[in-house]
């Protein structure tokens, strides 16, 4: 996946899984404030990312995630590792 694919697929997870309007999905959007997710959503977001993007996400790696851009970068790193 290139960067555009990553953004598209992560955003699809957020619109389909959490009903977030696409226009709210800006790279600088914070997950907990701007996108109004909470701790339960964060766990489910990991499950969806693993399922839809075929990744293995360590919950420890997710603890420092604050913005949507952080999610894109994490997916990029995990993808590189998998390769």
């Amino acid at each position: 996946m290139n960067q555009t694919d990553i953004i598209t697929r992560v955003n699809t997870v957020l619109t389909e899984g959490f009903e977030i309007p696409p226009e709210k999905l800006q790279p600088e959007s914070t997950l907990f404030q701007d996108l109004e997710l909470d701790s339960l959503d964060a766990i489910d977001l990991i499950v969806y990312l693993e399922e839809k993007l075929e990744l293995k996400v360590d919950t420890e790696q997710f603890k420092d995630i604050k913005t949507l851009n952080d999610v894109y970068q994490l997916v990029q790193r995990l993808q590189t590792k998998t390769v």
């Binding site: 959490f18 909470d38 339960l40 766990i43 489910d44 499950v47 693993e50 399922e51």
Partner: protein, 404 residues
């Protein structure tokens, strides 16, 4: 102390409002449909069911809805209707109110998905954080409380097909104590092949009408061959009459009283004697004689044994002059929701002074001839109605509903 009904809400196979549901009853419609997809399940031979009318789950915010399976969604939407009708001031009265809502089990649909993945993954890997909130036994009650922002006491009785009737009777009992002013009571269940399987493996689900689903549920009929599972939610707002009158709430009906008894004899075989005892106790508790009952809303699901035992018990208590009917041919059997749905339908019969007859009752089984089973809509002044529901485990419940 009189207990008033001030609000009702319904999601069902015949419609998602009381008026829509009742118009369909008058038109003798059924919600039962063919479900040919179920043929893929090994060992299941009943391929009929009654799904609820489509509803808009988006009226429930996502963060509340995420922990709901369909049974909780239906219960929440029905509760919104009931609260809206009653005008109940929830935020000010929570310590004096109760929520009592139940289901047969946690969500069967979620249980199937949960265990399918558990087995596939060899452990809990990949499970969503919200799965448990859909499968826990008090899922419906907890989810409705969350949707309402209700911070008072919440109870979740579970007795399969007697669930919502028990919840309503328990609400009546607790308001009688003087500890509570109001109770939101009822039940919900969702249609799933495992629910039908429970009945099918004991030969209690209809198998002979897979190609004619509209004829499949036929309580008291000579050619009945079992029940058809449905789904939905039925919710009532109960209040002490004094509390309701003080706030000028609409009084839609009164709960005369009720009783629930376990037969303690057999898990699956209905016992006429125990049904009779339950009806007798319900009448005694509200000091109503059998002669004062104008109509009986029967549980009768269309099983060979259950309908016969119920007809025996009902005939023994009210004789052969009082009209009796079952609505399972219209709705199918909504399990934990059926009692509340039938009580709501009975309230509407009282309001309109008419009796909806049993659907598909072409030839009355001679073993059920102990009661009066009308075959057409009956115009009759209705003041007191006896509502019955009986469940696996010998869970019998009877309630007397009175005109306001």
């Amino acid at each position: 102390m009189n207990v008033a009904i001030t609000g009702t809400g319904i999601v069902s196979s015949l419609g998602n409002s009381v008026s829509e549901m009742f118009e369909n009853l008058i038109l003798n419609k059924t919600g039962i449909k063919a479900l040919p997809d179920w043929q893929r399940y090994n060992g299941l031979y009943s391929y009929v069911g009654a799904p609820a009318h489509q509803y808009d789950e988006k009226q429930i915010p996502r963060t509340t809805r995420r922990s709901m399976s369909r049974m909780s969604e239906m219960a929440t939407i029905a509760t919104f209707q009931a609260i809206s009708q009653s005008g109940l001031p929830l935020e000010k009265s929570n310590s004096r109110g109760l929520i009592i809502l139940g289901s047969t089990s946690g969500s069967p649909e979620t249980l199937e998905a949960y265990f399918t993945k558990l087995i596939e993954k060899g452990g809990p890997e990949g499970q969503l954080s919200t799965s448990f909130f859909k499968v826990m036994n008090h899922s419906v009650a907890a989810n409705v409380a969350l949707a309402l922002g209700f911070n008072g006491p919440v109870l979740a009785p579970s007795s399969a097909c007697s669930t919502s009737t028990q919840a309503i009777i328990l609400g009546w009992e607790l308001i009688q104590t003087g500890l509570y002013d109001f109770v939101i009571a009822g039940g919900a269940d969702e249609l799933h092949f495992t629910s039908t399987s429970i009945f099918d493996i004991v030969l209690a689900a209809s198998r002979s009408f897979n190609d004619a689903p509209e004829n499949a549920s036929r309580p008291f009929d000579k050619n009945r061959d079992g029940l058809v599972v449905s789904e939905g939610a039925g919710i009532l707002v109960l209040e002490s009459e004094a509390f309701a009158r003080k706030r000028n709430a609409p009084i839609l009906g009164l709960i005369g009283g009720g009783a629930y008894l376990c037969d303690g004899e057999h898990m699956a075989h209905p016992q006429a004697e125990s049904m009779f005892s339950t009806m007798r106790l319900a009448l005694d508790r509200c000091q109503v004689s059998p002669e004062q009952i104008d109509y009986v809303s029967a549980h009768a699901t269309g099983t060979v044994v259950g309908d016969t035992q119920e007809a025996l018990a009902t005939g023994k208590i009210i004789g052969k002059d009082v009209p009796v009917s079952s609505l399972k041919g219209h709705f199918g059997h909504a399990l934990a929701a059926c009692g509340a749905i039938e009580i709501i339908a009975s309230m509407e019969m009282i309001r309109r002074n008419l009796v909806i007859p049993t659907r598909n009752l072409n030839e009355i089984d001679e073993n059920c001839s102990t009661i009066f089973l009308p075959k057409t809509i009956l115009q009759k002044k209705l003041t007191r109605v006896l509502c019955n529901n009986f469940a696996f485990g010998g869970m019998n419940s009877s309630l007397v509903l009175c005109s306001p």
